[in-house]
Symmetry: C2
Subunit: 422 residues, 2 copies
């Protein structure tokens, strides 16, 4: 019966299993640091028992626990017997038992399985798992229903050219760019409040630190709301819940990454987009119109951080021409918002059009053919509550929480135009 | 401020919002049954206030709650003012306010949004949401980490021809048939225990009641196990947790669908596959060899149900030629299993090969080229714990729990060769 390393707390015989993390050979004894998913422990064994094992070999060792502080804890195991569960058959391509993992991003991603053996790398994904779980658990307490919408679709959600297409039994199918249409349809179906955490696909050929061709979108949509402010308040509370869960469940991982979570203000500052562009044009000699480029998002964040101390900023009232056809218009603007976190857009959200004819007119105004959105439009003929929603990019949120520049760091197996393996 | 219908419990003024479910016009009064996601309530209003509204119109009504039992509850609202949030602009294509939804499957799926307005249809997906949530919550208590693996892949998991392919910036990508390789790699990375609930894709052109081209797979994989029995015990406990959560959180939905959950025995009966085939060949004049066809799965279920009273049955020791290359062999058999629930396979699982050379040999034996699995194989060079796992089809499990024949009933937007919309 295997004992988990972190559960070892008294002097008795145990069997532990894991990977050989470090080896120190002396004349009469070999010290092995063994790791499993719960931690590290020092094993002391006879050189003959140890043989010629390599780092990262998977072993199972039985022995007696003895008290005695060492670098890895308050106990050591004096090993009586050892069995090898799996050999290492080639030299390790990267060194993974240092304090930090000193390799470039490409090397890290090419060796993803090995690089995750480093505690700081696996900590990222343990925190990410808590982020997506707490997104869901918060919304369940608010009576949202989880849905699973199709990723193979006929009607692209966002239009445009950045969509992957494939042969589907002689027909053409697309990979969903978002669950936008389906989450709206589920609000309209009477579920009222729905969420989904799932993969979405964008055939964007440019390569940046903030874009991937496949990512995990955390989407929500809710009916019977009157303003986009309700969504912004909901997201503020949602983020507070997520941060609280990370704090409580990931203290070890946060310490390992040397991360302190930012404070979410009671009310996240809000700025109209045209105020932001005017400000940037004035103080940074920008020539922005209707949207911010990535550099401007950082500048406006820095400006607002100095003014308010908030690392979050809602930008509102985006112009119609910068928003999709389903965005609820208000003159030439829309009732929509972005949320910037440390200067990166992590959310787009807003109210949606809920009248059939207004939606048809909006499609035509955007140069889209309503016939191509037939099954989506059909849902708008039979009673549609006013509604809205938002989406949070899981990898982006993880990256900004952990102060990482490139979202490839916070994606297990990132997909960009140059990377389809591992 | 909107009051949810199920929260109305005293005589005071409230505003409710929802869909008009039924209308009964008398000379001096119109009775409207209003529904929101929480229930139904009777509204009484002046015919002039009501006007000429149609079924399914979305309204908001303010009035005084009065006690008085009626078909829909203990209260009625006497409406003072009413506003229309969204008109119905076309005749309803299906009747959705009867006790049951008397339409064929195709009509139901073509009108998915409207058909979900029927309480019995939305109940299916509220139960399904609890199934996937309780799959996750159980595994989190067992220290599993949730992962998100890529759906765009270069190395197909299962081999064979049933894979969708697409152009990926001039390269060829495939849609993942399962997260098999990635969940194994994450065990090997040191996470040890991982799970994923996500979309998978199968380009199977045949159309049956139990196959779809896209479905939700609930996958788990765990390291440091010694036998497939550990997985079978884990799945038994997992299913017991899922059923318990459904019982506690979905009593309304179960009642609405007139469903009683089956009892999961302390130990689910187990039978070797060759025993099952021999039995069927003997008592049903079958000529089975090495696997069961769908009819045989039902026959063996019925046989075992009569013998043991169990609606679940594990079949074990599948022959190598019927299992993928990563299945752990044991002579000509494998250390793998299927779980049948009411005669339908809802799970395939088992131990995996964890030695590099054995895996290469197994690929070659299957006629596969190891070069095409390079990034997967790479992970097996640097210390691999013995491991195994299983997958449960979410739609299949939902269908069998709810006694539904066709898994299209338990898929929001099913995808088959004839259905890519809505």
């Amino acid at each position: 019966m295997r004992t988990m390393i972190q559960e070892i707390n008294e002097e008795k015989e145990v069997t532990v299993s894991g990977w050989i993390h470090r080896i120190k050979k002396l004349k009469a004894v070999v010290f092995v640091i063994l790791k499993d998913r719960t931690g590290y422990i020092q094993l002391a064994m006879d050189p003959n028992t140890f043989g010629h094992l390599k780092l990262e070999t998977v072993i199972s060792a039985t022995g007696t626990v003895v008290s005695g502080a060492n670098k890895y804890g308050q106990f050591e195991i004096q090993v009586k017997s050892l069995s090898v569960l799996s050999e290492v058959t080639e030299d390790l391509p990267i060194k993974i038992n240092g304090k930090t993992l000193d390799i470039g991003l490409d090397t890290m991603l090419n060796n993803r399985v090995l690089s995750l053996r480093h505690e700081q790398e696996s900590a990222i994904f343990k925190i990410q798992a808590v982020i997506s779980q707490s997104f869901k658990s918060f919304l369940i307490t608010r009576d949202f229903t989880e849905i699973h919408s199709p990723k193979l679709v006929k009607e692209g959600a966002e239009g445009g050219s950045n969509v992957f297409s494939l042969d589907y039994f002689g027909d053409v199918a697309y990979l969903a760019q978002s669950p936008q249409f389906y989450k709206q349809m589920m609000v309209i179906s009477g579920l009222e409040r729905v969420f989904e955490v799932g993969s979405v696909f964008r055939a964007e050929s440019h390569s940046t630190v903030r874009h991937l061709n496949e990512y995990v979108s955390m989407d929500l949509e809710m009916g019977f709301i009157e303003s986009e402010e309700e969504l912004m308040i909901l997201e503020t509370e949602l983020l507070r819940h997520i941060f609280s869960e990370i704090t409580h469940r990931c203290s070890k991982e946060l310490a390992c990454l040397e991360i302190e979570l930012p404070i979410i203000p009671e009310v996240i500052p809000t700025m109209r987009l045209d105020e932001a562009t005017a400000l940037l044009n004035r103080i940074h000699d920008k020539e922005l119109e209707g949207d911010l480029d990535p550099e401007s998002e950082i500048l406006i964040y820095q400006h607002m951080f100095e003014l308010t101390g908030s690392e979050f900023l809602f930008l509102t009232h985006y112009p119609k021409k910068k928003r999709p056809m389903y965005a609820m218009p208000d003159g030439n603007e829309t009732r929509s918002f972005d949320l910037l976190f440390r200067g990166l857009e992590i959310t787009t959200g807003g109210l949606r059009i809920h009248h059939y004819q207004q939606l048809v007119d909006s499609m035509i105004e955007k140069g889209l053919n309503p016939v191509q959105y037939e099954s989506y439009l059909e849902a708008f003929k039979y009673g549609v509550p006013p509604h809205g929603g938002l989406a949070i990019g899981l990898e982006r949120l993880t990256a900004k929480i952990l102060n990482m520049e490139n979202i490839r760091r916070t994606t297990l197996f990132p997909r960009d135009r140059n990377r389809l393996t591992p």
